[in-house]
């Protein structure tokens, strides 16, 4: 008798599962499951977007902004008359659904009316970046496109061996500006010149016609995204002879210089004279 009464008592003392408790528990449970799903999902997306060797259509925003802004509708790819642009499929190892191209297969033929850009509904392909002002009117200018940069591998380029080849130069839509042919001495024969291609990054659009035309088994000239294929001199090195290059560093903030030494605190004319031991 006593025992059963105690049982009833302890049963009463147990916290009741109220509606409120049930609701909160289910919410918490869902958050727990979402956390697991979220971490897998986030990991996948982070991995997927770090495909660094992806070439984008003309006028594409910087890769991070492009990925954010592209709605993956494919209207650029449909507008392309050469079927250059591919919408990334599962298995392509590119961020799924985004447009890209492989110049060795089909390069960008740099249409002057750039059909792929104005059709973009979100502005992931930015019309202004491939337009210039002519007679006060905005007009499309494909030469301003910056899809990538052509890189020459000197060791596999047969022109650097001394064999005459200017396939890439001839294929370049802006030949003379984007690729020029330079003459260098052929040390091996001692009496010939090598006619070698040199890419100029301020004119190269990254269309890939050179890579497409290259005669070697695997192209010796190939297009990389500009962030991958180009260096950056930084603020320390300036072409003193170029007004344009000086513009580049005009706005640098000296307080932001990272290397701080005893000397860098002073002005150049002071610190150049401060090594007293030199004069002893």
């Amino acid at each position: 008798m006593e025992q059963s009464k105690r049982k009833v008592d302890s049963a009463l003392k147990k916290p009741k599962v109220t509606e409120r408790r049930r609701f909160l528990t289910i919410m918490a449970q869902s958050i727990g499951l979402s956390a697991l799903g979220g971490i897998i999902w986030t990991g996948y997306v982070e991995e997927a977007k770090s495909a660094p060797l992806t070439l984008r259509p003309p006028g594409a925003l910087a890769e991070d902004d492009f990925l954010r802004t592209c709605i993956k509708c494919g209207q650029c790819a449909e507008a392309c008359p050469y079927d250059t642009l591919i919408m990334a499929k599962p298995g392509d190892r590119k961020p799924m659904g985004t447009p890209y191209f492989i110049p060795r297969d089909i390069p960008c033929y740099m249409c002057t009316d750039i059909p792929c850009v104005p059709v973009c509904p979100t502005g992931a392909l930015d019309e202004d970046s491939v337009s210039s002002i002519v007679d006060g009117k905005k007009s499309l200018d494909i030469n301003k496109a910056k899809m990538g940069i052509a890189i020459v591998d000197h060791d596999s380029c047969i022109a650097f061996w001394g064999i005459q080849c200017d396939a890439c130069y001839r294929a370049c839509p802006i030949l003379g500006d984007a690729i020029s042919i330079e003459f260098i001495r052929n040390e091996r024969t001692g009496k010939h010149a090598k006619l070698v291609p040199v890419v100029h990054s301020d004119h190269c659009t990254g269309c890939g016609l050179c890579e497409h035309a290259c005669v070697t088994e695997k192209a010796a000239i190939f297009v990389l995204p500009r962030e991958v294929g180009m260096g950056k001199p930084g603020d320390y090195y300036v072409k003193g002879w170029s007004k344009k290059d000086q513009e580049r560093v005009k706005e640098r903030n000296l307080n932001e210089l990272k290397t701080k030494t005893e000397r860098s605190e002073k002005k150049p004319q002071d610190y150049l004279n401060m090594d007293e031991e030199l004069f002893q």
Binding site: S30, L33, S34, G37, G38, W41, T42, Y44, V45, E46, A48, K49, D64, D65, L67, R68, T69, I71, K72, C73, G74, Q75, A77, E78, I86, M87, K89, P90, G91, D92, P95, M96, G97, V119, C120, P121, T122, G123
Partner: protein
């Protein structure tokens, strides 16, 4: 003839689903100007922009600055489903619906429902996946569901070539067939969840005429969102829950004229919906 009549909405739905896919395909393949783009964003008759509002929402969450066209497009779509169609996107437009409907049909034919061990997944999971899609988009700076969506993978696959995309569809098919009944469309898909919310107050609704009902429950058997049919045999009213995809399968299988398309009944329902 009678069987065809019994499948009239099903046939119409397949025509719109395949027809839309074909229009998209033809825009790329033959240069037709009727419907360009994909289900994410398209251009109708070379003039009217259309856009997937959930994709736009994810992109906003990812921090994208976009052109006005895509907002107009998303607005048109939202208004259409919000006022008229309800969640009709899922059953009349979405190509994945054909895959999951096939799985569901085989599932019924093989009596898998009766024999399987039930895996319980809440039908509310889709709302959590939807919220998660927005959070992951914000964390990664990339529309998270758009990157993995089998809907657009299928859609783009038809237009531009499938690649390994078929694998995604096979996975969804197997999941719905052997895994969970209506698993993808009715439980997981965040786009379905999104349109359930958008279509919450839409006008076109299925109406139940209770006096005609003989309680055969064929409608509930065939319904992909059977929780919305809670009033069957109890009360004459319209199916007002946003989760109803307006697929009209219930209307077709009913032998007693107890279900039909109608306009929303705005009077308060007496019986309360019980979530399954």
């Amino acid at each position: 003839m009678k069987t065809l009549y019994k499948m009239r909405y099903l046939i119409l739905r397949r025509i719109t689903q395949v027809g839309l896919l074909f229009l998209y395909f033809a825009a790329n393949a033959y240069g037709w100007n009727i419907l360009k783009g994909t289900l994410s964003a398209s251009l109708l008759f070379d003039k009217i922009p259309l856009a997937d509002p959930f994709a736009v929402l994810q992109m906003l969450s990812a921090g994208a600055v976009m052109g006005i066209n895509v907002f107009i497009g998303a607005g048109i779509i939202t208004l259409f489903y919000g006022i008229i169609g309800g969640r009709a996107f899922c059953s009349w437009v979405c190509p994945v619906n054909m895959v999951t409907d096939l799985a569901n049909w085989i599932r019924r034919e093989l009596l898998l429902d009766k024999a399987e061990r039930k895996v319980w997944v809440s039908r509310n999971a889709r709302y959590w996946v939807m919220g998660l899609a927005l959070i992951v988009s914000a964390l990664t700076g990339l529309a998270a569901f758009e990157l993995v969506s089998p809907i657009t993978i299928f859609n783009r696959g038809v237009i531009f070539g499938m690649g390994m995309g078929g694998g995604v569809l096979v996975a969804i098919f197997l999941f719905d067939l052997f895994g969970v009944k209506n698993g993808w469309c009715g439980h997981i898909c965040p786009l379905g969840g999104f349109y359930s919310l958008v279509g919450r107050f839409s006008l076109i609704r299925v109406r139940h005429n209770q006096p005609n009902c003989t309680l055969c429950m064929k409608c509930k058997d065939v319904c992909p969102e059977s929780e919305v049919l809670f009033m069957i045999g109890k009360e004459s009213t319209t199916v007002n829950m946003g989760e109803c995809v307006n697929c009209a399968r219930c209307i077709e299988v009913c032998d007693d004229d107890a279900l039909e398309f109608s306009l929303r009944d705005f009077t308060k329902s007496k019986t309360k919906g019980v979530n399954q």
